[in-house]
């Protein structure tokens, strides 16, 4: 907390009352952003915006400057098209609301599904899970444990069976049981593996055979400690499945997850939630302001 203020006030003091920002300040800003995994290109773009605004507005007070910095960085992030996710609400006419969860290996897909299911259930929705990771050792067992923890039904098949068939089953079952939400887990896959990405496209297609506009949500899960490779992940998963939003996990650690700024800058995908632990309650709604604030928390 102390260091964060130290950093921001150092920057703002150095800019206050001037119409240009001096080199050292910009270097500090660059270091803060790059160290948070924002990446060089996006960092330079942000610095450019800050410079322009300082030149234009000639800020006087440090308070205003704090706000300006925060704003310029927040402006990079895109907003979700509606606020329904904040209360775990479901858009009208989309029942069952089909959520497909994708991402590279080990980022936290299955855990996040447990947390999402819990939150939807708390919000009074009836939830079902679909275990379409039939590949990773004990993946179905893991999701089954989560379904028991939350107390929601799970649709599963034997290990090794066709993930598209499981997804199809899960959605069909959600329709026939009149469920509000169905969340489908998929196996982790690296985005440079073409046949695995094709498999995702196929899963998507088999879901839309039951409900033409489904999946309504395709969530890309990003590990908060991932560096610039997350940009490639966003690009390829979007190409294969039309990602609608992101969730950043493991932000309870020391990593900042700044690469989402770069992703937002390039692909305009909103972040909806963040994961802050391994417990069922460790999912929180993404808050731009808090996120940007934490980028400057350089204590560690």
């Amino acid at each position: 907390q102390k260091t964060k203020e130290g950093f921001l006030s150092k920057i703002t003091k150095a800019i206050a009352g001037k119409s240009t920002v001096d080199e050292e300040v910009l270097d500090n800003l660059e270091e803060a952003l790059v160290t948070a995994d924002v990446g060089i290109d996006t960092t330079l773009a942000i610095i450019d915006r800050v410079e322009k605004r300082v030149a234009r507005d000639k800020y006087v007070s440090t308070g205003e400057l704090n706000k300006l910095l925060q704003e310029e960085i927040e402006n990079v992030l895109v907003d979700a098209s509606d606020d329904k996710h904040k209360n775990f609400d479901i858009p009208a006419g989309k029942k069952p609301y089909v959520i497909l969860v994708v991402g590279v290996n080990g980022v936290g897909k299955t855990t996040t599904i447990g947390k999402l299911a819990y939150n939807y259930k708390q919000a009074g929705k009836s939830v079902m899970l679909g275990a379409a990771d039939t590949f990773r050792a004990a993946a179905v067992d893991q999701l089954t444990i989560w379904s028991e923890r939350v107390g929601v039904p799970i649709v599963k098949q034997a290990m090794g069976s066709d993930p598209s068939a499981v997804a199809f089953d899960a959605v069909q079952s959600a329709v026939s049981k009149n469920a509000d939400v169905v969340i489908i887990d998929t196996a982790g896959r690296l985005h440079n593996k073409l046949h695995l990405m094709d498999e995702l496209t196929k899963i998507r297609r088999s879901i839309s055979k039951i409900i033409p506009d489904a999946p309504h949500e395709v969530l890309l899960i990003l590990d908060g400690s991932t560096g610039q490779n997350a940009l490639e992940q966003a690009k390829h998963f979007t190409a294969a499945t039309d990602v609608t939003a992101m969730i950043i996990t493991k932000l309870d650690g020391t990593a900042k997850g700044g690469v989402v700024l770069a992703i937002a800058n390039q692909f305009s995908i909103p972040v909806k939630y963040i994961g802050v632990g391994e417990k069922i309650t460790d999912l929180i709604v993404f808050d731009k302001h808090e996120f940007v604030d934490s980028l400057f928390n350089l204590t560690r």
């Binding site: 270091e31 790059v34 160290t35 948070a36 995994d37 990446g39 060089i40 290109d41 590279v104 290996n105 080990g106 980022v107 936290g108 590949f135 990773r136 050792a137 004990a138 993946a139 067992d141 893991q142 089954t144 444990i145 989560w146 923890r149 690296l190 985005h191 440079n192 593996k193 590990d223 400690s225 991932t226 560096g227 610039q228 490779n229 997350a230 490639e232 493991k250 309870d252 650690g253 020391t254 990593a255 900042k256 690469v259 391994e278 560690r300």
Partner: protein, 306 residues
């Protein structure tokens, strides 16, 4: 922006063309380009700075020989420096003792359990060892089942205690089991943990104290960004690990974390993992890693030709 350092330096070649000697002035932009390329490859910000300063010191004043352009000379200096930093002496893997004990640790989802399976398979099939896998992750849902499935796939026994919630005693009991069953190497898979989770770090440190491992391997996802240094430092302070395992190298990450970690903790990278199947354990080649970080698959040939 350029896609990789090769392109960047090729454009820098143009700036340097015709200059016979590298000096402070003509090198400035090139150094900046190299630094940015390293940061783009997820090399830690501070380390990238220090690294390029070293490179600059080496480069300034070097005489450009006839056949090689200043740009190409720079590339060579950068690459050699990277290889030297990441290499060092041949990393041994210590399996003496009966049983020898290997402790596996790292962040959540980094690939510890999968690697444990790979290592067991490698020791069994390539080294003629008789391994015992130990499920000391008492937290993650289905962690034991996951290791059991892997053990079955490779024909290696897995030791677990479903009701025991004490990782230390599970590890100790496993060693007794290994002795009685004539297993000569014990591989302990532990739960993923954050470096700042005091209770969890204490747990793994206690396991270490109790079983005195021959090898403690820190498993890290090669896609990790700037935070790699913090994590590696914290695990090393706590465990004084003997080596690093870089996972998920079958992806397209540039893997700058490898440099950051090596630079920070000065421990060898002993294995790499590049696939989900259990037969993809590999040794680490500093040269390949250097080229990967620099995004320059073809640069050596370029320099060699020159």
């Amino acid at each position: 922006m350029f896609n990789n350092l090769t392109e960047r330096l090729e454009s820098a070649f143009k700036n340097l063309k015709g200059e016979a000697r590298i000096n402070d002035l003509n090198i400035a932009n090139t150094v900046k380009d190299i630094r940015r390329a390293l940061i783009d490859a997820d090399v830690n910000y501070k380390i990238a700075k220090e690294f390029t300063d070293r490179v600059k010191d080496k480069a300034v004043g070097s005489k450009v020989i006839n056949a090689i352009s200043p740009g190409q000379l720079m590339v060579k200096i950068v690459k050699d420096e990277l290889v030297e930093l990441m290499g060092g002496e041949e990393a041994e893997f210590n399996t003496t003792g009966n049983p020898a004990v290997v402790l596996i640790a790292g962040l959540q989802g980094s690939g510890k359990t999968t690697f444990s399976g790979k290592l067991a398979s490698y020791l069994k099939n390539q080294k003629g060892k008789s391994p015992l896998l130990v499920a000391a992750d008492i937290y993650r849902p289905a962690a034991i089942d996951q290791l059991m499935v892997l053990g079955e796939q490779i024909g290696v026994d897995v030791y677990s205690e479903r009701e025991n919630k004490d990782a230390v005693s599970i590890a100790q009991n496993a060693i007794k089991e290994a002795k009685s069953k004539n297993k000569n190497i014990v591989i302990i898979d532990t739960a993923g943990r954050l470096a700042i989770d005091e209770a969890m770090m204490a747990e793994v440190a206690n396991v270490k104290e109790a079983v005195k491992p021959n090898e403690i391997l820190f498993v890290v996802d090669s896609m990790t960004g700037q935070d790699a240094v913090n994590t590696a430092k914290a695990f090393n302070e706590r465990l004084d690990f003997t080596g690093v395992v870089l996972t998920k190298l079958d992806g397209d990450t540039r893997g700058g974390a490898a440099l950051s970690i090596k630079y920070t903790v000065q421990k060898p990278i002993k294995f790499v993992s590049s696939g989900e199947k259990l037969d993809t354990l590999d040794v680490f080649y500093p040269e390949r890693m250097a080229q990967r970080i620099l995004g320059m698959g073809d640069i050596t040939t370029l320099v060699e030709k020159a």
